[in-house]
Symmetry: C2
Subunit: 200 residues, 2 copies
DNA sequence: GTCTATATAAGGATAGAC
DNA sequence: GTCTATCCTTATATAGAC
């Protein structure tokens, strides 16, 4: 364990991330964040002025990863199916490390006071996938489908278990480790599914 | 339009459903519910005592549909793939009529004060699908896969666009009608996907 | 049953001492 | 920079008149 002492600002950001990600904006309390950070509530305002501003900082930091940047990956000269396989591995890996990310993001964009944050989402991903798909489709290497629908399916398949995690833990009487193992297994399963869907 | 006057209790429940579904428990205000119902805030407490009790009433009423009861459908003697097709049609239809349902349910089960509500979910669906799958698998009519993983994929594919609706509307510069058309189209696309996944 | 007025509590934000 | 104490707004809940 690294025992490097974090600055107060860093401690606050770390605590805010934990609380906001878990409880959402409306469900979070400044007092909870202060408690987790191990400091006083007044200091939160000293550093970040308001709950809104602190939330925005956390959102900005986390949001980049939700729609991962696949720039380099998608410009490689490899089959489309392989690109999707790489996406699945990378994205599921990210979700295993940030299990609250999907609910956090989807909650925020659906929040009546936070809908402006939609503009912050880096949504190049869908354009990259679509473009990459059409190149490959013209070569006849991939089945005909609607890439927009395909991306929604892909993301939905990856994300759903993390959104429904409390239900799944209850259903399977499982703990976090069992869940993670199920997700590791899921990576292979999803790769198989998309291969079946994409292969002509 | 039917002009039948609702009872006060019914008006409250209708308004509470609208507000809770849209804004979630933490994001909802009793005042908003009273305004939508067109009555006074004090009446909410007269009829339902507390915000918690009112929320529970709404949750109980809505929850049945999230994991639809497919009892009759799944006991029919038809191919497994056809059962899944019927599920997709029925579920997407339900979601088109209740676009907030997925976020509402997933938000609630992830809420730190509402996790007990998980017990209320009618989760027979997954058992029915798994059982139905194995019968068909033994006959060699369906590809080998993990039914639990398959159900998660199926639900994820159906639900995702409704969770991400504000993002999609922004991306495609679309309105509600366009979104609904995209979902109608999606029914066919998803039926195609599951056929490819399930057919040996 | 329905309303107005008010009590009570929670939570975000600030003042001021150190 | 960090704390304690306090302010002020918002929101749930209740009292009491009609």
């Amino acid at each position: 364990m690294t025992e490097i002492e974090l600055s107060t600002e860093e401690k606050i950001l770390k605590a805010a991330e934990e609380v906001f990600m878990r409880d959402g904006y409306d469900g979070s309390r400044m007092q909870d964040i202060a408690d987790v950070a191990g400091i006083n509530k007044a200091l939160l305002h000293y550093y970040f002025r308001s709950k809104d501003k602190l939330f925005e900082k956390v959102f900005d930091a986390k949001i980049q990863s939700f729609f991962p940047k696949m720039g380099e990956k998608f410009s490689q000269d490899i089959p489309f199916v392989d690109k999707i396989h790489i996406f699945i591995e990378g994205y599921m890996d990210l979700l295993l490390k940030n299990p609250y990310l999907p609910l956090f993001v989807l909650n925020t964009v659906n929040n009546k006071d936070k809908s402006a944050f939609i503009k912050k989402l880096p949504i190049e991903l869908s354009r990259q996938v679509a473009q990459s798909y059409y190149v490959e489709f013209k070569k006849g290497n991939v089945r005909e489908l609607n890439p927009a629908q395909f991306i929604m399916s892909l993301m939905g398949m990856c994300i759903f278990p993390f959104l429904a995690k409390p239900i799944l833990l209850d259903m399977f009487k499982a703990d976090n480790d069992t869940f993670d193992k199920l997700m590791e297994e899921r990576i292979q399963e999803l790769k198989h599914y998309v291969t079946l869907i994409l292969t002509p």
